[in-house]
Chain length 585, copies 2
């Protein structure tokens, strides 16, 4: 028994008790003949007191304690004269009579404080010290709580968690697989799953009815800031359901999480908008609806008035920013630079303000009469004090995406994107296919198992680009936290999908034969979705990167710099696997 | 909305209601002008009734329903005249007025019944149909329930579930790693974890205090009947603990599982015996203590009496089987053959019976007087009607293991190993090292991070083979369901362990430098354990193989025969990974 209490537990009601604590030295300071040591563990911090006059050798031992030493102390709980209202243990201190050093500590390479002096690289190399910081550990505590609540909710709804295999087969469709050479089957490879998609569908064929799994998935992609080669999904599937059934169950789960994790009760149903509406009004399939500022189309108002940029555009649109009419010329120049950045790619920015008297003053006054400008103002329904920002371009989709970026930027500037405000919605009716100009073929927008809407099936042969899918995403604050679809459960339709996606009969059979075969033995209608756990935790924790809610993340080169993985392996391991390394750049 | 109720839900109280069900056709039979269809889903079976006289076309449609067709039906709930007490829905039937075929089904390759006609290979190839069988699915439901209860218990005890990485580094110590080539780091490989051992210890260094994780682990071993290349552990670690603290917490968890999953209240503490006692009294480090039949040493009684086999033996020992004195000569020959099998390797079997009058009759009567045989009987404390079975050999450990096998065999024959009786114990004080004759070196019996008992540390230099570890296993019914240890938390001692295990300073640094480094920054005393989830579920489900509690298991060649993994990958994938296949046998 190393301790009788944790470092976060003692209160005024414990005064007079003898207790033993164990933990890390957070601070050590001398004042007069006294030494005060803060001892820390996961549960809190307690002040220890050593008195030079009462026990000089013990006090001298305490004076030598360095930061992060691991100690055990026994003493009597005393009420503090100087109470600290910021600490749950702030009413008491421990008058130490015994001190054992359990382990010494070298001086850590950065301070173990919420506001540390350690840079990113250093903190990643010494991640085990970084994880001692309350701000980092609390993200992982939140993550734990979320998975507990997810499981609790789904279990109550009759879902069964089933573990699907990690060592599976490689499928070239989709992102790149990580592969695992098989020693027992020379020349053959397993692949790590990008998702348990086919297995969860097989479980529906097996009659499992309601399945879920919190599961690691893998993608060998060139990493962007917010991607990890291994990531965690809340993966779910249900049988005998239509789209509304899935949406209702998982809207319920989301509300449960908001309530239990963030203490937020959401009474109203989540708004549901179609993908077409999302693109039209927000220029994005994952709109942030914490604020309005919807995209407004201005072709009818602004075309054919002699301003060549607009007259020649395929699309003119804008947003109206309330209360931003006082933006200075300099601020507007910054916005113009913002939209002209290569990542956004607009040609320029037109702006117009509504003055206090209702007059509109724009950057294109010489082309437009006040009458036309007032028509524009009416289209925006812009109030005095508003700033209208207008972009144009050949391609409506591209220009809408530029407006979407501008909209988010203005949301930030106007303080409309508070991390503690949450706005959820469903985006539905995604297109079934995406056309790739580069490859001159269709790709599945979601994945090849997504069902087209029954009323659009007749378009598969004639106009596949217009076919809508029974697919949906859940979006919170502009982040796609999850997505899914109703699946195809008919082997003939599944076969047709594979052909439309350019699979030969043989390829489809080789890669997905087991699934299509399974469908011939009585597949129920089914559908589901998957949430990105890392993203959702980040959102609830108010983090900018998913990395801080992962205990041991990898960097942008896919390296774990703490353990130095990946690394070279021994020649004997390669030999056993019948592999050789061809060349290394 | 595909259904208003599941197929296991309707009761007499629902009579008169109109309800819609969806599921699979289990059975279809005609009687008189009626057709009776059993419709099945995960929740149960409901009898559907179609009447030729009332709706002939509907009844004919029903007549054509094949086994495993997926259907939806609507009808009125009616009380059955012929109730079926074996079915929860046996009081009612549904008089169908609407029938929709949601999906047809080819005739399954084996019957989807508890008692199927499908062989192992066929069931594995069509695992999605095998999983429809109640007996298989119920194992996975049990597995789900167990993980829910494990998490619930540990969460209440303050444990945090933390996900550790799957893509880590290869360490040659231990079993063989599966490796994953890194495309972004050419020539380098990740390894899949054999356990999250080092990461959970780092989490203790990070102050997480109480960690757990239900996690996939991987071992590239030649597979035995009860091994899978990927398996699941309940992995746990605690800080500021001694061995008793760990044992108490996890004994509590085990009792919680027995109570919630099997409805068994275990009031008494689990027995705790040392490894030395286990070997001495059971010849096994995982004794089945559902029955006694302890090993008895007979050297003092039987040596030096002129029976050359025993006189020359290094060890003589036996077991006493109550009520087995009536074993026939033929049965005893079978036992003799059993112990002489190469897997067991005894030279022969000596037996002796205690007759009703107390006389002992043995197979070695010509060497031993009745007086000596009575001495032996007293050593066994054998009652009339008992059979004593005796083995001898040069090596005590080997002979004890042979006796252990014989003991288990006799336990089976005497009906003492009931699958619904459970006997748990802790085996403690394992040796720290195992000597390998082949490699002429010591290996860690548990793993290199296990702490020696403080009182044995002085023996590390002089007599490492006798050093006992703070290591423990939890054994249920002769199955090692979990094991763990108190860890080394001192970098100097850890370094010493690596040297005793034959690591050079450089090798230790290269492979475990991050851990030893972490220990210098204030590592707390810590320890933990890991349970084999697959084994524990098998035990609770009364299965002979772990395979039946895994949704999609692999066969003994590490293949998933359903999806046909592993498989060849494309040359372009190999090229991207800078790999070539050297040769394939």
């Amino acid at each position: 028994m190393y301790r009788t209490k944790t470092c976060g537990e003692l209160r005024a009601s414990d005064v007079g008790q003898t207790e033993t604590l164990a933990g890390w030295v957070q601070k050590n300071r001398r004042m007069g003949g006294m030494t005060f040591v803060d001892i820390r563990d996961r549960y809190g911090v307690t002040q220890l007191v050593f008195n030079q006059e009462i026990n000089a050798p013990l006090c001298e031992k305490a004076n030598k304690l360095g930061r992060e030493y691991v100690i055990r102390v026994t003493g009597v709980v005393k009420e503090r004269s100087n109470k600290n209202a910021h600490l749950p243990t702030g009413d008491i201190e421990l008058i130490v009579s015994e001190l054992t050093i359990l382990n010494a500590a070298a001086t850590p390479p950065f301070t173990v404080e919420d506001d540390t002096d350690g840079g990113d690289d250093l903190r990643m190399k010494y991640r085990y010290l970084d994880l001692r910081r309350n701000v980092v550990r609390s993200n992982l505590e939140l993550r734990h709580k979320m998975t507990i609540e997810v499981r609790s909710y789904l279990d109550k709804q009759g879902f069964i968690e089933v573990e699907t295999p990690v060592l599976i087969s490689s499928t070239p469709e989709g992102a790149r697989d990580f592969v695992v050479p098989s020693r027992m089957n020379p020349g053959q490879f397993y692949a790590l799953p990008q998702s348990p998609q086919t297995f969860k569908q097989l479980l529906m064929v097996s009659g499992f009815d309601r399945y879920f799994q919190i599961v690691k998935c893998f993608r060998d992609e060139d990493l962007r800031a917010d991607r990890q080669p291994e990531f965690t999904q809340i993966d779910c599937e249900m049988s005998f359901v239509e789209q509304d059934d899935v949406l209702n169950v998982f809207e319920g789960m989301s509300k449960h999480l908001f309530k239990t994790i963030r203490g937020i009760e959401i009474a109203e149903p989540f708004p549901r908008i179609t993908w077409h509406e999302a693109m039209k009004y927000y220029g994005s399939d994952k709109p942030d609806i914490r604020f309005g500022m919807k995209l407004v189309e201005l072709d009818d108002v602004l075309k054919g008035r002699g301003f060549p940029v607009f007259d020649n555009a395929g699309y003119i649109g804008g947003i109206c920013v309330e209360g931003a009419a006082d933006y200075t010329r300099k601020q507007l120049d910054v916005l113009t630079d913002f939209v002209k950045r290569p990542q956004i790619g607009a040609q320029g920015l037109v702006y117009a303000r509504v003055e206090a008297d209702g007059t509109v003053r724009s950057s294109v006054d010489k082309f437009y009469s006040q009458e036309v400008l007032q028509q524009m103002r009416a289209t925006f329904a812009a109030q005095p004090g508003s700033l209208m920002l207008i972009l144009s371009g050949q391609d409506a989709t591209k220009t809408r995406k530029q407006l979407s970026e501008l909209r988010l930027e203005m949301g930030n500037r106007q303080g409309l994107r508070n991390k503690n405000t949450f706005a959820c919605l469903w985006v539905t009716d995604f297109p079934l296919f995406e056309w790739s100009e580069e490859d001159q073929r269709y790709y599945a927008m979601h994945h090849p198992f997504t069902s087209p809407k029954p009323e659009d099936i007749h378009l598969l042969d004639t106009d596949p680009g217009t076919v809508r899918a029974n697919a949906y995403d859940m979006v919170i604050n502009g982040v796609e936290v999850g997505g899914g679809s109703i699946r195809i459960h008919d082997s003939a339709l599944q076969n047709k999908m594979f052909r439309l996606l350019g699979f030969t009969e043989e390829q489809a059979q080789a890669q997905f034969g087991f699934l299509m075969n399974a469908f011939t033995y009585g597949a129920p209608p089914h559908g589901g979705l998957a949430y990105g756990l890392d993203r959702w935790v980040s959102l609830f924790a108010g983090l900018d990167s998913i990395r801080d809610c992962i205990a041991f993340p990898k960097n942008n080169s896919g390296r774990d710099v703490m353990i130095d993985a990946p690394s070279v392996i021994e020649q004997s391991q390669l030999d056993e696997l019948n592999l050789s390394i061809t060349h290394v750049h």
